[in-house]
């Protein structure tokens, strides 16, 4: 865990009690992020990535584990201090429901400023206009309501809203999943430019692992509440190790021959994600894993380091510690 980490999550767990049983949405994940970095948390449905994001954001209180923000433990707080609420902000997945349809853009952007900055009314209005321009929208959109905006425009407003308090950590929960690919490209570019200007750290939740290739500095893949593999982006894509991650990569429909060479072909995706209530014993992936061994059905593997800063949780690698390395 690095020294100037802005966020450190260790052993985070969050369970939900449902009528059908207990769901261990987040079942012990650990990672850390430096200031101004982008950490991608990747997973399919049921992986727990959104729950993890919401827990870090403060919507849920973790059941176990710790969250350190700038070195301070915030997991146990019942109510987060007001100052913390401006430091950690969130951009949600569905622009349709993340903006109040009955409030104008101006009203939506004014609120975070009003709550955290002591500015006069006119100064606030100026700041709102500034924010709108910052996300490359025309200033006259301020009086519009969300239903008068396109999906891309709505997400820009959501980003402006998140950045209104100049946060040091922005959690982005699938911010571009509902957008067209050409719009997605623009939004991601905007996010990168804003990060260069204001240096927030981004915790980027997504199911689109390809998107993260050129966006994230570090990638972690979740499956059924646990991290299976975590590495710096370069190492991750050049040396994908965990069977689930490899299965994920092999099912991506790529658009060029160059990329075809990069994806593992041997692992054909099969099977369904098991119900989160009925988690199989041992490694949660064993029911679908083509390299399953006896031990996988009984013992849950622990994280081991394969190379520097590249960890994975799989019995195939339990023995291999350290290994290949620096050239």
């Amino acid at each position: 865990m690095s020294k100037n980490a802005i966020l450190t999550v260790s052993g985070l767990k969050k369970t939900f009690a449902t009528p059908q049983g207990v769901v261990r949405a987040v079942d012990g994940i650990s990672f850390s992020m430096g200031a101004g970095a982008t950490f991608a948390l990747v997973g399919e449905s049921g992986s727990g990535k959104s729950t993890a994001a919401y827990t870090v954001a403060g919507a849920y209180r973790p059941d176990e584990g710790d969250i350190l923000f700038r070195g301070q433990s915030i997991a146990a707080l019942r109510v987060r201090p007001h100052l913390l609420k401006k430091e950690i902000r969130m951009v949600f997945q569905d622009p349709g429901s993340s903006l109040n349809p009955r409030r104008s853009v101006r009203q939506i952007l004014d609120l975070p400023i009003k709550l955290h900055d002591d500015l006069s009314r006119t100064k606030r209005a100026e700041r709102v206009t500034e924010l709108i321009r910052l996300v490359e929208l025309a200033a006259n959109l301020a009086s519009r309501y969300p239903h008068g905006l396109s999906g891309g425009q709505k997400q820009r407003v959501a980003i402006a809203r998140a950045l209104a308090t100049n946060p040091s950590l922005v959690i982005l929960d699938e911010p571009t999943s509902s957008l067209d690919v050409s719009v997605q490209a623009k939004i991601v570019k905007l996010l990168q430019e804003l990060q260069e200007k204001f240096r927030p750290a981004y915790l980027f939740i997504t199911h689109d692992i390809v998107l993260m290739r050129n966006v994230a500095s570090e990638v972690g893949v979740m499956y059924m509440g646990k991290l299976c593999e975590k590495a710096s982006t370069k190492d991750f894509f050049e040396n994908t190790i965990h069977p689930y991650t490899r299965m994920l990569m092999s099912s991506i429909p790529v658009i060029s021959e160059v990329e075809e060479l990069l994806i593992p072909k041997q692992l054909v995706p099969k099977g369904e994600i098991p119900s989160p209530i009925d988690v199989p014993p041992g490694c949660s992936f064993h029911s679908r894993c083509p390299m399953r061994m006896d031990i996988c059905t009984q013992v849950d593997p622990v994280m081991v380091e394969i190379e520097e800063n590249h960890v994975t949780r799989c019995h195939l690698y339990q023995g291999a510690k350290g290994a290949s390395s620096s050239e």
């Binding site: 950690i88 902000r89 109040n100 349809p101 409030r103 006259n140 009086s143 239903h147």
Partner: protein
């Protein structure tokens, strides 16, 4: 400065555009427009009643036995009742009672119900919700007419108590409506965002959630006008509302009913008046529902 006026002008134009779009949706159904026309006519009539009829005195204690029980004619459009009072004038003034009742009842029960609904819906799974919703359930379990009767029977039958009684039977419906809307809106991302950024609970309930309840509440209010008037007329009919000689529509129907079928005008016209006003509000309510239906596309 010029920018400010330009913005105000644009705001004005946009609001105008929004309203004309809403009107378009409303007017798709000609019946709704008809309902609106009738409603507005009735409201206007109620306000200017003294100027429409020369028989304003007939509304109070007035008798003119020589003119009693006259069928509809050119001097008395709806005829006269058993003591010689002009039925038309009394019907028009009767509308006043009905509308005042409806406005008063809704004015009391809607804010009460809405506030309780917001609080109960937001504080789900806590004792607050349980308390409020169980009380609501108790009120809802008793049929409105019976409940209102019981309350008025304890007090004196008059318009004021009628208003109180009906209000008490009405607020739970709004509570339940707003409760269910609040429960679903509360889960939306924009509410979560506002919670996370540190807004006060008052702000969340009143500025974020409440505006999302306006459309269904307004629609229900319009439809309810009809129902409240019916309830008021029913109470008057059984003698627990507006007392004679005051011209409550329900009272008039009751008094005139004894003189059927010979003095048919004494009952039919007040009854028709009730039917028309309820129908009109219902049609407007339908139109409002269409208007709010799909805001997009």
């Amino acid at each position: 400065m010029a920018e400010k006026t330009q913005e105000t002008r644009r705001f004005f134009l946009e609001t105008l555009h929004r309203f004309s779009k809403r009107w378009y949706k409303f007017s798709r159904n000609p019946l709704s427009v008809l309902g609106l026309a009738i409603t507005l006519t009735i409201i206007v009539i109620t306000v200017i009643s003294p100027y429409i009829t020369p028989y304003s005195a007939h509304v109070g204690p007035f008798t003119d036995f020589p003119e009693a029980s006259q069928p509809p004619s050119t001097t008395h459009f709806f005829g006269t009742d058993n003591v010689g009072r002009d039925v038309f004038a009394r019907v028009i003034y009767g509308y006043r009672f009905s509308l005042v009742l409806a406005i008063a009842v809704l004015g009391l029960s809607v804010p009460t119900g809405v506030v309780f609904g917001l609080v109960a819906g937001y504080y789900e799974h806590t004792w607050v919700e349980i308390l409020i919703m169980r009380i609501t359930d108790v009120f809802l379990a008793v049929p409105p007419l019976v409940l209102a009767m019981a309350i008025i029977a304890l007090l004196e039958p008059n318009l004021f108590n009628q208003m109180m009684a009906v209000s008490l039977t009405w607020w739970p419906w709004y509570c339940r409506l707003v409760y269910s809307i609040t429960r679903s809106v509360r889960r939306k991302d924009f509410v979560r965002d506002v919670e996370l950024v540190g807004a006060s609970k008052a702000h969340i309930l009143l500025r974020e959630i409440l505006p999302n309840c306006v459309a269904p509440v307004l629609t229900k209010m319009t439809l309810d006008m009809g129902f409240v008037i019916t309830l008021g007329a029913s109470l008057s009919f059984i003698g627990l509302g507006v007392q004679p000689p005051k011209p409550g529509l329900g009272t008039m129907v009751a008094v005139g009913a004894r003189r059927l079928p010979s003095g048919w005008w004494m009952t039919i016209f007040p009854a028709l008046a009730i039917v028309i006003v309820i129908l009109a509000f219902n049609l407007v309510g339908d139109g409002l529902r269409d208007m709010f239906a799909v805001e997009e596309d």
